[in-house]
């Protein structure tokens, strides 16, 4: 068995927490995979910042309609019951608390709920897009992320060192090793890989893990 979940498996795990009929915004890139793993019998309604509710998968190559794209500028399709609206109405849905969950990627997430996912520092061209809006208003703001950086440093930290996207906004982290809630400014461990001891997980986490009585096993099928 692998020592960590793949991105697809993290996305699968995040998808299990999305209720039937939930309104969901998925960040550009890795978080978009969550849409593939809706459990049978459940149908979430996906929102994209550029003014579409209830869009579906990408069309076959060559059949794209470039007036029908998502926030990542990728071609999409519509499901029955879709709606178009302008950008102010779209972000009204976001800020107004109408989304049930927003799932984003991240560079760092801190135990106080701070998120840093838009800038790795002052070099290059800064670009923020809709992330600073999305982290406010959704009833749950979750991140999907590898537990550590490519060079092994914790991405779950005491305090963010990179420029913030939002203050105290994240409520749950789905990582490659664990599921962690953020409650009262602390990381609360909900699930971890069965193959991993708590001490091992703590060693690759940048802030103290609060350990409740029940810690579930983090399990995900082989998906891709």
């Amino acid at each position: 068995m692998s020592t960590k979940l793949s991105n697809a498996q993290i996305a699968w795990r995040a998808a299990q927490d999305i209720a039937d009929g939930a309104y969901v915004n998925l960040g550009i890139g890795f978080p978009e995979m969550v849409a593939k793993f809706q459990p049978p019998g459940r149908q979430a309604i996906f929102h994209t910042e550029n003014g579409v509710l209830n869009f579906g998968e990408a069309p076959p190559s060559g059949e794209e309609d470039w007036d029908l794209i998502n926030a990542g500028k990728k071609a999409i399709t519509l499901k029955p019951g879709a709606a178009f609206f302008h950008h102010a109405d779209s972000f009204g849905m976001v800020r107004g608390g109408h989304l049930d969950v927003a799932i984003l990627g991240t560079y760092e997430v801190a135990e106080n709920g701070d998120l840093a996912n838009w800038s790795t520092g002052p070099k290059g061209v800064p670009a923020v897009g809709g992330a600073m809006d999305l982290v406010h208003g959704a009833k749950r703001v979750a991140v999907v992320t590898d537990h550590v950086t490519k060079d092994g440093k914790p991405k779950l930290v005491k305090r963010c060192t990179l420029p913030l996207t939002g203050v105290g906004c994240v409520t749950r982290v789905y990582s490659s090793l664990a599921v962690i809630d953020i409650e009262d400014g602390r990381f609360v461990l909900r699930e971890k890989l069965a193959s991993m001891r708590v001490e091992e997980l703590q060693a690759v986490t940048g802030a103290e893990l609060v350990l409740p009585d029940v810690i579930g096993d983090l399990v995900a099928p082989e998906v891709s």
Binding site: D20, G21, Y23, Q43, I45, H47, V52, L53, N54, L78, K79, P80, G81, A82, A83, F84, F85, A88, D89, F91, G92, M93, V94, R95, G96, G97, H98, L99, H136, G137
Partner: protein
């Protein structure tokens, strides 16, 4: 994902004492008469809901709709811009007797405050009412040499909305000028309850023509032959 409910009683369940209730419509156009009357029916049967704060442009007409709620004694306070109508006695009598409260809000400010409530904007500035009695006690600020009044968002526990078409996912269209405050209120309430002239399957409303996306709607009930305030008034109906 199916937001339809079987009847009007089920539609208005969960509206409780002391709640803030937005009611769509401008005068009779867009007034969800059947939802309001279903709420009155519940009040008559159970004594609840009462002590409501009702948000609407007006404060009722004759003895039906919001006026009948006031007559029945369900309303503690109105938030509106124009508490007058062809027959305003339900509100007027209670207001002059000190038995009902009134928060008077300029019409555009009322619309914008409700829009802000739905859109997550806690406060904004408007030129309307600056320097008038209506702005007394409100913060003011100057921008680019002109003075403005700060206004706060307005949200509700529940909203009663009249739509033309609804699909089962809650996407809505409206009929002509019956649109007015309804799309704003649908977004500003925690529990948005819709009576639609016709309920259709998802996909039967063109996505370009949806005015209120289903994300703002919780329940939909079909009322095929909805009453129009003007017709009820002409017929002398008294509901309370």
């Amino acid at each position: 994902m199916d937001k339809t409910v079987p009847d009007l009683a089920a539609a208005v369940a969960g509206i409780e004492d002391g709640m803030v209730l937005m009611v769509g419509g401008f005068g009779g156009s867009g007034a969800p008469i059947e939802l309001i009357h279903a709420l009155i029916d519940r009040f008559k049967a159970t004594g609840s809901p009462k002590n409501l704060t009702v948000v609407n442009n007006n404060a009722g007409n004759g003895r039906i709709g919001i006026a009948a709620m006031i007559d029945a004694g369900m309303v503690a306070k109105m938030v509106c811009s124009f508490p007058r109508s062809a027959d305003p006695r339900a509100f007027t009598e209670k207001y002059l007797a000190g038995e009902i409260g009134l928060e008077l809000v300029p019409q555009g400010t009322l619309a914008e405050r409700i829009r802000a409530g739905g859109a997550g904007i806690p406060a904004f500035y408007t030129p309307a009412s600056f320097g008038t009695d209506v702005a007394k006690g409100k913060p003011v600020a100057e921008f680019d040499g002109k003075s403005y009044v700060q206004e706060r968002w307005l949200k509700a526990d529940a909203a009663l909305i009249k739509a033309e078409l609804a699909d089962t996912m809650g996407n809505l269209t409206y009929r002509k000028a019956a649109r007015n405050f309804s799309p704003l209120m649908a977004a500003a309430a925690k529990l948005t309850i819709v009576q639609a002239t016709k309920i259709v399957a998802p996909g039967e409303i063109d996505p370009e023509q949806v005015v209120t996306p289903g994300i703002f709607v919780n329940r939909v009930v079909e009322v095929a032959n909805a009453s129009q305030e003007e017709a009820l008034m002409r017929d002398g109906v008294a509901y309370a």
